[in-house]
């Protein structure tokens, strides 16, 4: 492990941790623009986090240690996930520590922690939100695994770093199976990050909430950490999507100029992905909860089709 790789890893961790709220703010800003509103600017999540951080911490009487430790565990899991994904160069030292399947496991762990914490207090909305979250997770996870298998079959490895290296070094090639996998991935991303066709991120009506109901009992810096973890999760999902489907421009060796170029390109890709996400959210309406299995079933079907087409066409 060279010192350069170590520096790169630290840089990536810092980038994911500090930059994630900016991405979330940008998505919100785009949604405001598409909805003919002014919006609060892409820096708004930082202001919200500062405000929440200063507020007094209020914890319910019935809360156990599960409730108290959940925000820290969530943020830790998300930072681990964010540092495994190749962001600027496929040489980060932590990348061989976990492959794509272990990454899905990290997300599943985070989901379990947040669901347990929501049920810990014992209020109706919290446990309802937890159950819905588990329902969506149970439907989205197979689809996500199937999506990851297509690039893994093409590059003969489930390690994200190897996949990125394979896709960036070989000549540009039209993979029909990758087009399928990419569209299924977008659907999984929408479901896992509680975006619009599945869940409304800024609803105030508890009965329609899924993700929001998990945070309902939190206040102060706990809430700030939960929001932060959500932003990092969105950024990590986008980073996985970029690494799998648009990896061009990443620095293969990790030289200083390559990293600078990769950072600039990453900013451009993230901005474009955030704008696209806001456009999808503006154009679609929220689905009824009982239509969500249909939505995620379609994602699963498209991902499996990608694998089948890969076997048939042999490309």
């Amino acid at each position: 492990m060279t010192s350069r790789a170590l520096i790169l890893q630290c840089l990536q961790c810092a980038l994911v941790f500090a930059g994630a709220p900016l991405l979330a703010g940008w998505v919100e800003q785009c949604r405001a623009w598409f909805g003919n509103r002014h919006g609060a600017g892409p820096l708004q999540p930082y202001r919200v986090l500062r405000k929440l951080w200063r507020k007094e911490l209020v914890v319910a009487h019935a809360a156990s240690w599960v409730f108290r430790t959940a925000p820290y565990l969530l943020v830790a899991a998300m930072i681990i996930a964010g540092s495994i994904v190749p962001l600027l160069a496929p040489i980060v030292p932590l990348a061989p520590a976990a492959d794509a399947i272990a990454l899905v496991g990290v997300f599943a762990f985070a989901r379990m922690v947040s669901a347990l914490a929501a049920m810990d207090i014992g209020t109706g909305f919290g446990s309802m939100g937890a159950r819905r979250e588990m329902l969506i997770g149970f439907l989205a996870e197979p689809a996500l695994l199937m999506v990851l298998f297509t690039p893994a079959l093409i590059s003969h490895s489930t390690s994200l770093a190897v996949i990125v290296r394979q896709l960036t070094t070989t000549r540009l090639f039209l993979y029909p199976s990758m087009a399928f996998a990419a569209s299924a991935y977008v659907m999984v991303l929408l479901a896992e990050n509680a975006r619009i066709p599945v869940d409304n991120p800024d609803t105030h009506l508890e009965l329609t909430m899924i993700h929001g109901a998990l945070h309902l009992e939190y206040a102060g810096r706990h809430l700030a950490l939960m929001e932060w973890a959500g932003a990092i999760k969105l950024a990590t999902y986008m980073a996985i999507g970029i690494a799998l489907f648009l990896p061009w421009g990443m620095s293969a060796t990790g030289s200083a100029s390559g990293i600078a170029l990769a950072t600039g390109l990453l900013a451009v890709k993230m901005t474009a992905a955030g704008t696209a996400l806001a456009a999808i959210e503006t154009l679609l309406a929220k689905l009824r909860l009982f239509r969500v299995p249909e939505f995620l079933g379609t994602a699963f079907m498209v991902a499996v089709l990608g694998i089948l087409v890969h076997f048939l066409l042999g490309t």
Binding site: F173, L174, G297, T298, M301, L312, L313
Partner: protein, 217 residues
């Protein structure tokens, strides 16, 4: 692999995706849009194959298919839907997740069956025969599960798309006379079925074919 072969493969994959979308689509108007899209993809892929093999007759076939399936038949169907008052009609009794899973199983079956057949063919795009066979089976499934006459006709038309696609992938299309004959048959069929829709509706007050069973007395 040359670029046009990659494009043919991509178009074949899209063709299959549209076949799945038609299986799961509830609204009739969107179903007609998807049919037009499928026709367009079919015409484009015939053009790609024609370009790759330097066969001018395939351009003619592509033009015929494009004209018929992207413009003429969808227009006739839109008019029928409007006159029957079905514009916002939807079939609610469709269990989409189950259907998609059955479709996937059919798909695996078709890919498996097609592999030895495709090896016998000497065409450049023989790998796409599995996709053609799969979309034929999906159209058959669609005709089985749909309950109204109009959507079953759309399943039939999509079946014909799949057959033309299969012919293109195994033997670079059928002889021109056969293709012209099929085109004529399809368009006459759509006209006759259009007339039938009105008769069915007059007789049974609905296009739902399940009512036929109860009409014995």
């Amino acid at each position: 692999m040359p670029l046009f072969a990659q494009i043919t493969n991509l178009l074949a994959a899209l063709f299959l995706l549209v076949a799945f979308a038609m299986l799961a689509q509830r609204r009739i108007v969107h179903l007609i849009n998807l049919y037009a899209l499928q026709g367009g993809i079919l015409a484009l892929s015939i053009v790609a194959v024609g370009y790759g093999t330097h066969q001018e007759s395939l351009y003619l076939s592509a033009a015929l298919n494009g004209l018929l399936k992207v413009i003429v038949i969808p227009l006739i169907l839109y008019r029928l839907v409007r006159r029957l008052g079905l514009a916002w009609n939807r079939e609610n009794l469709l269990r989409v997740p189950t259907l998609l899973l059955v479709g996937l199983v059919l798909n695996i079956f078709a890919f498996d069956v097609a592999l030895p057949i495709a090896h016998l063919a000497g065409t450049i795009n023989r790998d796409t025969f599995g996709i053609a066979l799969a979309s034929v089976l999906l159209s058959l499934l669609m005709m089985i599960v749909r309950t109204t006459a109009l959507t079953q006709v759309l399943g039939f038309l999509s079946l014909e798309n799949g057959l033309i696609f299969a012919a293109t992938s195994v033997t670079y299309g059928m002889p021109m006379m056969v293709e012209l004959g099929i085109a004529l048959d399809v368009i006459v069929g759509v006209f006759i079925l259009g007339v039938f829709f009105f008769h069915i509706r007059e007789e049974f007050d609905s296009l739902d074919l399940h009512r036929f069973d109860r009409h014995e007395e």
